[in-house]
């Protein structure tokens, strides 16, 4: 029944490691997003994909690479993790130009 799901929910890792977060939506939406929410709750878009095509790329370091194998999935791979990458990462999906549905978030802690 889950509309937008993310795995894992929690991710604790060492600096310098490479990690991935997965996202899936079963709403049939064409557009998917990744957001980063920092410790002050500030929520900022990182990427969006429409029908597997990159639409928005918001000056995110190229250590972050989104991958969309199909319309229902948008994964986020992060290389060489840094302390400043610690945050909650949210996946979202929407029909084009309409409300966005958010996943439950992945809390990433880099030690």
């Amino acid at each position: 029944d889950t509309a937008v799901s993310q795995t894992p929910k929690y991710l604790v890792t060492q600096m310098g490691n490479d990690k991935s977060i997965k996202c899936e939506q079963n709403l049939g939406h064409d557009t998917m997003y990744w957001y980063k929410q920092d410790s002050k709750k500030f929520l900022k878009i990182m990427f969006s994909y429409n029908n597997k095509e990159l639409i928005i790329n918001e000056t995110v370091p190229n250590r972050f690479s989104p991958k969309s194998p199909d319309k229902a999935h948008l994964n986020l791979h992060i290389n060489s993790l840094e302390l400043g990458d610690s945050a909650v990462y949210f996946c979202a999906s929407s029909p084009w130009t309409s409300e966005q549905f958010f996943g439950p978030g992945t809390r990433l802690t880099v030690l």
Partner: protein, 111 residues
């Protein structure tokens, strides 16, 4: 609670009172606005939206008001309940489904 250490504006209301949460947006060209509610440990959840050709829209217990002259958005919650306690975000759509979120307001409901 999760709000400890957060320096977001906080609105404390008595259960049963009405709440008004305000938001200033920056882009006069934005034509779509959304209010989201984020409970502790969860992703943002859509509450209500409004397009720039309207100045008021009502939902169940919620009303959004848009004043384009002063670039101001407000969310009114009638008969506030303990379950309304959360962080509330306004968001404006800039282009290509890019949402820009405000800083957030903590709503605390006292029983």
């Amino acid at each position: 609670g999760e709000s400890v250490g957060l320096h977001l504006p906080t609105l404390s209301v008595q259960e049963g009172d009405n709440s008004i949460i305000n938001c200033a947006y920056s882009n006069s060209a934005s034509d779509y606005f959304i209010w989201y509610k984020q409970e502790s440990g969860k992703g943002p959840q859509f509450i209500i939206d409004i397009r720039s050709n309207m100045d008021k829209r009502q939902g169940q217990r919620v009303t959004v008001l848009l004043n384009k002259t002063v670039k101001h958005l407000s969310l009114q919650i009638a008969a506030t309940q303990p379950g309304d306690s959360a962080v509330y975000f306004c968001a404006e759509e800039e282009y290509g489904n890019k949402l820009v979120f405000g800083a957030g307001t903590i709503l605390r409901v006292k029983s």
